[in-house]
Symmetry: C2
Subunit: 265 residues, 2 copies
C-alpha cells in the first residue's frame, strides 16, 4: 500500500459479511502500481443500515465511488440517482460513482466480468447451454451477460418463485425463448452449470446443486470467492469435472472498475 | 502501509478541509509497527453534511472510531452518546469510539496533547502566563489543560464575544480568577502566546496576532500543522522568538489515541 495522507481519495466496498471480500487486496495493489493517491477500504454494513450508511458515504467529499457485494446489490439501486443499462436491466449494481454533475450512477460489472473470465479460461459462452442457480442480483447479471454473449440456452433456478419469474420475464423480453426456469436445479442438459447463490460462503452450507448430475465434460462455475474452493467446486473436481472459480469473475471485473473509476490502465 | 483486506478495521479522521490533516500519515505507520489490521482514512465532510456522514459512519460495523478536526470538534458532540470529562468541559471532541455496549463516546485530547508537547519541548506550563487566541473547540481544550497543569494566568481572545464569555464562565467555575478575556489579543504580559484559530491554514490569512508585541524571551506556539511553518511562526522566528509548532501537539496526542483505541504501545 502507498502512503495514506489527507489528500488520499477513497473508494469503499460494501458487504455483509465483509471479511471475505477480495476487492481491497486486488484493487489496492493496482492503485499503487498506477501511482494513484487513492485507497479502497472494506465497509461492513448490515441490510437495515444500508440507507443510512450510503446516505453518509455519498456526502463524503473525497469518496469517489463504491463497490457493492452480497447482500446489497439490489437494494443499492434505490440510492443511485441514475442506473447504467446493465444495472437497469438486472435491477442490481456492484459499482457506483459520483458523476461530474454530482449525481451518483450505478452500474453492474458482474456479468461482463464473468463472461470475460469464462473466455479467458477457454470456456467461450457462445452456443453453449447454461444452468444458472440463483436469480438474485448476481444471477440476473450473469443471465443477461450470457445471453448477450450468445449462450444457446439458459436454465435458471431459484427457490423464490416471484424473483425467478420476474427475471425470466425480463430475459424473455430481450431474448425470446432462450431462458427457462425451475424451482429446482436442472443441470442435466447444461454444458456449464453456475452457482450464483451465496451457498458455500459458510462451511456447513448445503450444495447449491449436485454436480454429479452434470455431463462428464461439463464445467462447474462458482461466483463465491472465499473460500477459494467452496464445497461445490471440491465436489465437482472430485467427480473429474472442470471447475471455474469465483476469483476469475473479479479478476476480469478489475479492468471494468479501473475504467469506471477513471483509473487508467 | 500494511495490506488492506476484507478483515481490516477502519478508523476515520473527519475535517473540512481535509488535505492538511496529518493523522493518517502519522497513525498508519504506527498501526503497521503494531501489526494491527487497521487503517485510518481521511474523510472530507462539510459542516452541513456532518449529521448524515456521522450517522452513516456509526453504522459501519468494522469502523471502530473517529478522529475529528476543524471545523467539526464542537458539533460532533451532538452525535456522541456520552462525553468523557475533557469533552464535556470543553464542549468539543476530537476522538470518538464505539464502546463494548455499542454506545459512542467522545473525548478530547487536544489539551493533554498540547501540554505534553510543550513539556517535551522544554516549555513547562506550570507558573507561566499564557495568551490564547481562539476560544473555539481547540482553544477551549487548550485553556482547560493549561490551567489544569498549573498555568499562572490565561488571557483568552476571540472575536466572537458569546463564545469567549461562555468559555470564560466555564473556566472561572473551575479555576476562579485565573482566566481573563478580550476581543483583541493581549500578549504583552504573556510568557507563551498560542494561536488556536484556523488563521494560517491559507497563505493569505491575516496573522492571528502580532508576535512583535511579545516579550523577547517569549514563545509563540501554533496549533496549525499545515503548512508546518505558518506565517505566524515565520514572523515570530524572524523576530528571534522561540516557536513551537502544531505538529508537537499531534505527536503527543498519538499516544493518547493509541490508548483510546486500544492499540497498545
Amino acid at each position: 500500500m502507498g502512503r495514506i495522507t489527507g489528500t488520499t481519495r477513497l473508494l469503499a466496498v460494501l458487504g455483509d459479511p465483509i471479511e471475505q471480500v477480495q476487492a481491497p487486496a486486488l484493487v489496492n495493489p493496482l492503485l499503487d502500481r498506477l501511482g494513484r493517491d487513492a485507497v479502497l477500504v472494506p465497509v461492513h454494513v448490515r441490510p437495515d443500515d444500508l440507507a443510512e450508511v450510503v446516505g453518509g458515504l455519498r456526502r463524503i467529499r473525497n469518496l469517489d465511488g463504491l463497490l457493492v457485494t452480497v447482500p446489497h446489490k439490489i437494494e443499492i439501486c434505490r440510492y443511485a440517482d441514475e442506473l447504467a443499462p446493465a444495472a437497469a436491466f438486472t435491477g442490481s449494481a456492484n459499482a457506483l460513482r459520483r458523476e461530474p454533475n454530482g449525481r451518483w450512477r450505478a452500474d453492474n460489472f458482474d456479468g461482463v466480468g464473468f463472461v470475460r473470465g469464462l473466455r479467458a479460461a477457454g470456456h467461450e459462452p457462445r452456443g453453449r447451454r447454461f444452468a444458472l442457480v440463483g436469480a438474485g442480483g448476481a444471477g440476473a447479471a450473469l443471465a443477461a451477460a450470457l445471453l448477450e454473449n450468445g449462450a444457446a440456452h439458459l436454465s435458471v433456478c431459484d427457490t423464490d418463485a416471484g424473483r425467478l419469474d420476474a427475471l425470466l420475464r425480463r430475459l424473455d423480453e430481450r431474448w425470446p425463448g432462450l431462458a427457462t426456469g425451475s424451482a429446482v436445479p436442472r443441470i442435466e442438459d447444461a454444458d456449464i452449470a453456475v452457482n450464483a447463490t451465496p451457498l458455500g460462503l459458510r462451511p456447513d452450507d448445503p450444495l447449491p446443486f449436485d454436480p454429479a448430475a452434470l455431463r462428464p465434460d461439463g464445467v462447474v462455475a462458482d461466483i463465491i470467492m472465499k473460500p477459494p474452493e467452496p464445497r461445490l467446486l471440491r465436489a465437482a473436481a472430485a467427480l473429474g469435472l472442470a471447475v471455474h472459480r469465483g476469483i476469475h469473475m473479479l479478476d476480469h471485473q478489475l479492468e471494468c472498475y479501473a475504467d469506471y473509476f477513471g483509473l487508467g490502465r
